[in-house]
Structure formats: structure tokens, C-alpha cells
Amino acid sequence: MIWLLGLSLVVMLAAAFAVLLLRDLLAAIAAASVVSLALSVLFVILRAPDVALAEAAVGTGLSGVLLAYTVHRLGAAGRYDP
């Protein structure tokens, strides 16, 4: 169990850094979804299955779709961050 915990923590923090540093906005949104996914695994380890379900459904699915669709609507201006 401890390896799963360590792996999830490493993936979550690496993805959080990726949100900060990636220049392509769609890639940053994908990294934010990875953060939510690792966070839901951490919630399961913390014995909180309800919260893990909510985080997986809302953070990974709904947030990612909303953000990606808005970036698509913004067109060229929204895609890259100089």
C-alpha cells in the first residue's frame, strides 16, 4: 500500500508542476485532470470512497471537459501561452 501512496503522490506533484510550466493550454488541462485522478486515488487510500467518486467524476471528467471546450471556443488566442 505504501508504494501506491508514494506513486500517487509523485504523479500528483509532477502533474501539478506540469500545470504550472507547460505552454500548451490543452496539455495543461490534461495535467490538471491527472492531478484530479491521483487525488481520487489518494482519497481511496484515506478511506473516503464517497469523496473519491465525487473527485473522479467531477474533477477529472466535468472540469476537464468544461475547460477543454472553452479553450476550443477561444480559438487561436486561447491555445498557447507565451
Binding site: 470512497p49 464517497d50 473519491a52 467518486l53 465525487a54 467524476a57 467531477v58 471528467g61 466535468l62 471537459v65 468544461l66 471546450y69 472553452t70 471556443r73
Partner: protein, 227 residues
């Protein structure tokens, strides 16, 4: 910009030190359980739901859930007001490829069943209205992604959202006849599908409301026009 980055780093270092000292004071692995302890002991007899988190969300902290419904409703309404009147913006929407269309058609019934199952069993297993409602919203949004020109029927989503929210409020008000506002009704055996009194009905109304709200919001985001 370097100055601002440096100032941000200094501020965050200070904030990090403050938070670390708070966490050290909080301790880990030994929560005082001042409210949780009595709830864990008395919930099976008082509320009768196998999922104790559900009993906390709907019975012991029911007012929080009511306010949270209001917040969601306000956010969805405000988003609709900011976006303005939606037009069927078909000109910039190209129909999705073969994979997305086929996958959306194939996944729709499964997502519906999964969402309904999670909502209805919210008082027995992990899950409930919020999780299941989100899955229902996604189930109705996938075909919209595959076929953007179809659009989501705003009348149906607002009708479902309004009546589900009203049903939630009515059941909460009906608790006034018993122990007080939002008191759960007794009934059923622990662990059965028909148990925990009014909790499954409350979660059903909640799930439908959240699902309709999110589906309507996403549909509006899809069809708003570009000036």
C-alpha cells in the same frame, strides 16, 4: 516580471511555513471525533442508512446541502446570464469523427444505468446524488459532443431542474411535521434498498437536479454565439 515572481515566492514561503505549523499542531491519525464519534455511534439507529457519509450529508448536515444546491443554482443561472442568448452556432461546429459518434452512441445507455444505480444506492454504498448526477449529465453531454448541431433542449433541463429542486424542498419541509426541518423519516431495514426513510428520495431529487443543471450549463456553453 522577475520582481513579481520573487515577491510571490517570498509570500508563498511564508504561507508555507504558516501552514506547516498549523498542520503540525493539528496532528495526523488522531482526530478528536467530537462530532464524528457520536454520529458514528447513533447514525444506524437514528437515520438507518448504511452509508454514514450520506446520513451526514442529508440528515445531520442537511442545511449545508440545501445551501449548496442554492449555490449550484446561482452559478448556473449566473453563467447563463453572462453568456447571453444562445444561438444554434452550427457554423463553427463540425460534426465529430466516427470514433466519437460511435462511442457516444454505445456509451449512452451504460452511463445512464450507472448514473441511476449510483444515485439510487447512495445510502447503501459509496455514491449518491452528486456523483450520479454528474454521470447523468455527462451521459447527456456525450451525444452533444458528437453531434453539436443537435443542442440540448433547454425546456426539458430547466423543467427537470426546477421540479427536482422543488421536490427536495418539499420533502425537507415535510420533516417539519415530524422532528423538525429536514428531519429524516424512519423506515426500512438497515442495508435494504428501501431503507433510511426519506434519504433515497432526497438523493434522487438531488441527483436529478444536479444532472439537469450541469447538462443545461454545458449545453449553453456549447451553443453560445460569438459576437
Amino acid at each position: 516580471m522577475r520582481g513579481r515572481d520573487l515577491a510571490a515566492l517570498l509570500f508563498l514561503a511564508g504561507l508555507g511555513a504558516l501552514l506547516a505549523s498549523v498542520m503540525a499542531e493539528l496532528g495526523f491519525g488522531n482526530p478528536p471525533l467530537r462530532a464524528g464519534g457520536p454520529i458514528l455511534e447513533q447514525s444506524p439507529s437514528q437515520v438507518g442508512a448504511a452509508n454514514i457519509v450520506t446520513s451526514v450529508v442529508l440528515a445531520y448536515r442537511g442545511m449545508d446541502t440545501l445551501v449548496e444546491l442554492t449555490i449550484l443554482f446561482t452559478a448556473a443561472t449566473a453563467a447563463g446570464m453572462v453568456l447571453g442568448q444562445g444561438t444554434r452556432a452550427g457554423r463553427s461546429q463540425s460534426p465529430a469523427g466516427f470514433i466519437l459518434s460511435t462511442a457516444a452512441d454505445a456509451l449512452f445507455p451504460f452511463l445512464l444505468v450507472l448514473g441511476a444505480y449510483i444515485i439510487l444506492h447512495g445510502h447503501l454504498t459509496p455514491g449518491g446524488g452528486f456523483q450520479g448526477g454528474t454521470i447523468l449529465a455527462v451521459a447527456f453531454f456525450l451525444p452533444l459532443l458528437a453531434q453539436p448541431n443537435a443542442g440540448i433542449d433547454e425546456r426539458i433541463t430547466t423543467w427537470v431542474e426546477g421540479s427536482a429542486g422543488a421536490a427536495f424542498l418539499l420533502i425537507a419541509l415535510a420533516g417539519l411535521a415530524g422532528d423538525g426541518f429536514m428531519a429524516p423519516f424512519p423506515g426500512g431495514e438497515l442495508g435494504e434498498l428501501l431503507s433510511a426513510g426519506s434519504l433515497p428520495v432526497l438523493y434522487l431529487a438531488l441527483g436529478l437536479k444536479v444532472g439537469a443543471e450541469l447538462a443545461g450549463l454545458m449545453g449553453r456553453l456549447l451553443t453560445e454565439d460569438e459576437a
